[in-house]
Symmetry: C2
Subunit: 226 residues, 2 copies
């Protein structure tokens, strides 16, 4: 599962470094930051995938999130804010929906390994990024499909789940991920410049600060790109 | 979850008879039988729902099924054929995808009860209609959402799971479901006449035969409707 952000790009690079041939899946779901799909395309091309599938799914009709509705994306939240519960950028059941579609794609490909960049350390407090959630999805996946009936096991890999953002940045650099291609913003400008203030931008900035390296991508408009 | 077929219409009627206010969700997923959505609309109107949401999702891009690809839908299969494994009409991970979207809708509505017409007796051998699968989805749902974090429980109701088709027909009649409005065909004509020969038509015919009543809907073209 590839959004085009720092985490999913790094998860893809990990899968490749472990010798997996990779198929990427992304979603055009009515997100205000659909420009992230261009980052996803660039990342998929640079790291190398057999196929990059983009699935259309209208989550705007379901609603309930600042990422798909006309609700303002919170800005400049502190570390305390970030740990204070589920924010309005949470999209109802999004990871369950995306994982289900990735499961369908895996089933068509007869693939047995599913990678995602979920992270439960420096994250926005989404319920569907927690380890127990991912274990439950893996259990479901192993009952849901033709492979399950035929006794082939599916594994859900979330190699970044227990890593801090700084560690993820260093890992990405070690793996040669071109971080200039990644975009981690919930509310970029139409030209794709990150806002620099949403939770995703804040967490990303903290990651690069922790790693002690400058961010070659995701620069706020007044510092480049825009 | 309402497809417009016999089972989901009956599951909706059961929910209403148990005193639930109902919200229906249907999917335009690239199915060759998208005319079933008209049946779903009629059924929702007749039984009475607060809202009927139809979500667009492009499962054709994922592929892997006779219901979304240019693969022939099998015809006139026998009871033996039906129990011989997963047929080509199986859509990879379809129930997981649909349940995920229903879960998202439930989360937005703050609803705690999710009804579907899954059936594991007279069915097509789909892995995602089995009791253990539905239990696993309920477990996942209770980790996946805001409600889960806040301690509110979600229940997945599949009241037809262990019932034969004949029993379902009798139950639908007892509950006053207008079965003439329902359509249970994988490959209807453009005008919405069922083919009479796909697994769904075969199972439905068997149900009405078992119940000892004529089918007021789902008639093959040469016997009406078309």
């Amino acid at each position: 599962m590839l959004s085009g952000g720092l985490d999913s790009a790094t998860a893809l690079a990990i899968a490749r470094s472990e010798g997996f041939g990779a198929y990427a899946i992304s979603f055009r779901y009515g997100q205000r930051h659909s420009i992230e799909l261009e980052s996803a395309r660039n990342v998929a091309g640079a790291i190398g995938v057999e196929q990059h599938l983009i699935v259309d799914i209208d989550l705007r009709s379901v609603g309930g999130s600042a990422l798909t509705d006309n609700i303002d994306v919170p800005r400049d939240r502190t570390a305390e804010d970030l740990s204070a519960g589920i924010p309005v950028t949470y999209v109802p059941a999004r990871n369950t929906i995306f994982l289900s579609l990735a499961l369908a794609f895996a089933e068509v490909l007869e693939a047995g390994d599913l990678f995602l960049g979920a992270n439960a350390i420096d994250y926005s407090g989404y319920p569907d990024c927690r380890p127990e959630y991912l274990r439950a999805f893996e259990a479901l996946a192993n009952l849901a499909t033709r492979a399950a009936v035929e006794g082939r096991r599916l594994r859900v890999h979330a190699p970044l789940l227990e890593r801090g953002k700084g560690e993820i940045v260093r890992l990405a650099i070690d793996l040669g991920v071109d971080l200039a291609q990644t975009l981690s913003c919930y509310d970029p400008t139409p030209a794709g410049a990150p806002c620099g203030a949403c939770d995703a931008c804040v967490l990303r900035r903290r990651g690069f600060e922790d790693a002690g390296v400058p961010d070659p991508g995701n620069l706020p408009p007044d510092r480049g790109r825009g």
